[in-house]
Amino acid sequence: MEYLLLQVLNGVQLGLLMFLLAAGLTLTLGIMDLVNLAHGSLYMIGAYIAWTLIGVTDSFVLGALLALPATFLVGVAVEIVVIRRLYARDHLTQVLATFGLILFFNELVRALWGPGGKSIAVPTFLNRTIEILPGVPYPAYRFAIIVVGAAVAILLAWLVARTRLGMLIRAGASNRRMIGALGVNIELLFSLVFGLGAVFAGLAGLMAAPIASVRIGMGDDILILALVIIVIGGIGSIKGAFIAAMVVGQIDIVGRAFLPDMLKTFMSSSAASSAAPAISQVLVYVLMAAVLVWRPTGLFGQRT
């Protein structure tokens, strides 16, 4: 039972990290109708900036907090310099241009920070285990990720549901042309949304950094999962992205924690342990295909 709880927590932690990445992606795709493959680069940039600032300030919390506005500025700069020119273009052009951005950012990081990876240490006050239940230890840092991730998810839900910006975001997601016609400053709204997405991606990147290392291309693998999540959740829907991220997080953990034992009931032990990681990698895509058959616009997508 405790074991199950711990594995569920592991899945929640993974899911929350992916939600932070997917939230920005689903906003840009839903509201701005922009396919942004370079979203993973912002995840990487956030982690690298945090690495530098943590080194300068000698404090994890301070460095991480300063890295967020810095990533916001990078996001806004990218929007103004490159992305803004892509709104009127078709999706293929957007894919090509943002793919180019991935290459650009990878080389930029190589030039600025060097080819080797960087490592961010877990802050000392979190470098221990806490007892989530009496006698059940859990790494404090991973618990902190859950707390921060959940807080940001609630903040985002409030922002989208209760504020004027959120109202415009929702309006933009359902009918972009109409809010432009109503006199809303679309350019400013788009810059803000893109910057906001960059902040969430950067936050995910810097929180993942002490667990996985900071390296070139670190966002490229996880971007694919984030794309799967927003397709499952329905493009433009924050709620959908959240639920899909939670489900994908749990599937990943089930695939790693329980699938090998399930397979062992009818396969040889060594075949089962090498088949399990392969199957768990595929499970997420099977889910995506199933959801698309059942609901072609995703779980919470706008019906067209």
């Binding site: 594995q7 993974l14 221990r128 230890p137 790494p139 290392s213 070139i216 953990i253």
Partner: protein, 392 residues
Amino acid sequence: MKNRLFGTATIAAAMALGLPAMAQSPIKVGFVSTFSGPQAAIGEDMRRSVELAKEHLGGKMGGKPFEIIYEDDQFKPDVGKARSEKLVQQDKVNFISGYIWSNVLLASLKTVVDEGDTILISANAGPSAIAGELCNKNFFSTSWQNDQTPMAMGDYLNTKGVKSLYLVGPNYAAGKDMLAGVKRTYKGKIVSEDFTKWPDQLDFSAELTKIAAAKPDGIFIFYPGAHGVQFVKQWAQSGLNKTVPLYQVFSIDAITLPQQGDLALGTLGAQEWVNDLPGEANKKYVEDFKKKHGVYPSYYGAQSYDAIMLMASAADALKGDLSNKDKVRAEMKKANFKSVRGDFKYGNNNFPIQNFYIQEAVKDPQGMMTVKTIATAVKNAVDPFAEKCPMK
């Protein structure tokens, strides 16, 4: 007509002039390793050792100058294969070496040793297939066959009386060989055997939770480079370092220790080379390396250093004339050079027959993390696939 005649004459003249020039040309060595991305630190350690070997040789093999062309495999089998192809076909190298990763080596092998008829010396990867049925006269190793190092660890765990073991490793060629290796010799109970996604999985929360629930006497891991850093960190973060000891191969070394730091102290591993092994060649290598770079070299570097020395031994014996490949191979097979691990012989499959040691992670007198030899695990070990190799 006149023009064509002139053209042919020019080509003939160029060829006539070109041939002696070729004989004077330097010996070329290609070196494929990972120089970018998260595992670039390993490639850098190898490059430093290759450069040190060149310096120790005075820049010459068999009286001829030699040049080294480095290529980055980017940690990807397809890129490694393309880079190897370029070295063989375009640069026409005499030797090709490097190869950290078994999957990169397996992808590159055929283009080098079959199609290119070039001699390849693996300075790290030793997949079981190349030791067995795919063994090749053009392939030599200055490292080991993948199964051997974990086999040595398994032997040691028997003598230490570790009763049960949980195995974790990455799901690719080397990961499978390594876990199979420890199972060949370890006689205690294998609690479970988990493979993780390679190379993108750097989060081991699910696996560590499983280990905590299974309560084994020990964990055995194989996670080279950046992955080893993450596993050891997360093992310590989970609190398991207080209850379940970690036994490892290729996961705690001179590359990873600066980042693992105190968390790794006291952990045991197996290796065919350790920086404190006796012998003049090893002292010279380790001391000069430390003087130059301020850090300890790793086995990746030591094996690369040996690879260059092995080439030099053959070139020296043949006075720099590498045109007859049969002679080159015969000279290499003698392993007639001062290896930093101490002398070794080549088996029928061109893998070394050598000792393996047990090493412990410690702090040196200056406070720098390193490893030291604490026992000899096995002597003159022959890999288990040698008999499957048809070569004599």
